[in-house]
Amino acid sequence: MLETGRIFAMISLLVCWVAVYYFIDRARKGDVPTLRRIPGLDALDEAIGRSTEMGKPVFYSPGRGNLTTSSAAATIAALDILGHVALSTAKYKCDIVVGISDPAVYPLAEEIVRTSYRTANVGDMFKPEMVRFLSPDQFAFASSCLGIMSREKVGAAVMMGFWQAESLLLAEGSAQVGAISIAGCDRLFQIPFFVAACDYTIIGEELLAGGAYLSGDPIQSGSLAGQDLVKLFAVVLLVVGVVARTAGSDYFVKLLAK
């Protein structure tokens, strides 16, 4: 009944979920963990404030990921962060331009921005042009984003989610128009580009924790403490695996393949 080769993965997934759920439950009961500061996420308000003072719009893109493949988690995390950014721009009465690449992400992003403006009691400020479907094609999307940054002279550019080769085009494009740039990505090949070209970079798991971090919701914060416990579990597995392999045992390798 169970798929061979996936039993260990299933047990690991269950361990992860139990640990995360345990800490969520603890947070529900009032034991809320303290989160370390993430400068890139803290800088979002600064960037939006600066744009507001300069009378320039904020550019936001949740990347080129979609909701059905391995890029889904990064895209959902980016949409989470979009909610917070849109709420801030609504509160500051600052314009936001959201560039979308995946068609399925477009209605979600539009609803997020609309809801955020409504929540800030400035629903009439929301314009459908704020959320723009650009193109699913990689470089057509990149050139559209560069065009928006250049024509509309954005004051801040926030790029979160799943990115490929277009990452540097956008990051460098935002720097060239003098915008504060904040980027977040969980792909190893793109992180160096963002680190080199952006003012703030959110790396790997920080992006995925972004929604929980910005929400200030104690229950979501609890899930982050659960993640730390799972990381400890991963480190223990690594050490045991290294010791076992060094000692000449392949038991651990076989266990992982089960």
Partner: protein, 205 residues
Amino acid sequence: MRRSLPLTITSFVGFWIVFDYFVKIDFVRTWTVNFTNWVIIVAAFALGLGAVNLLRIHGKRVTERRPGWMESSVLLVALVYMTVTGIFLGTSSEAFLFAFTNLQQPLSAAMFSLLVFFIASASFRAFRARSIEAAVLLISGVILMLGRAPIGEVIWTKFPDIADWIMQVPNLAGNRGIMIGAAIGIVSVAMRVLLGIDRGYMGQE
């Protein structure tokens, strides 16, 4: 109801697909395939919505003669041309391929080629040794460039070995740390979304 129904559907389908990944049950597999096919249908409708958004924004710009209306009109003409030729003549028709190979491909290649200049300007800014971290980045970057370029080996034969060591030891260790952290983060995001704890993707309320 407006939020609870989508959340219930998300949780049900999400847990179903996770369950299907680990077990071999025909009934479960059949419905997973059905759910996946439905995604394609929903995505097709979403693409239609995206096209409407493009028409609305650029159509308004053209009719109101706002700045950039010329570019918007080019976009609208291209959108209509590719849609009409693609649907009525097919994506392997001469009319469709003409625009694809003579416009779309060269324009994409031109955008891609811009990367080389952007890499140069980004690395110029990143490699200014303003802090210890930036200095480490500068030194390791220079060593890597010398290790990978033939001239490096001419200057000192050890440069390629040092570059390999940087890539295979500190760089790989950092990469794996980020990968493990991100993988666990993905599992945690999945759990928060499937249990309806994380609803940020549905908008702030």
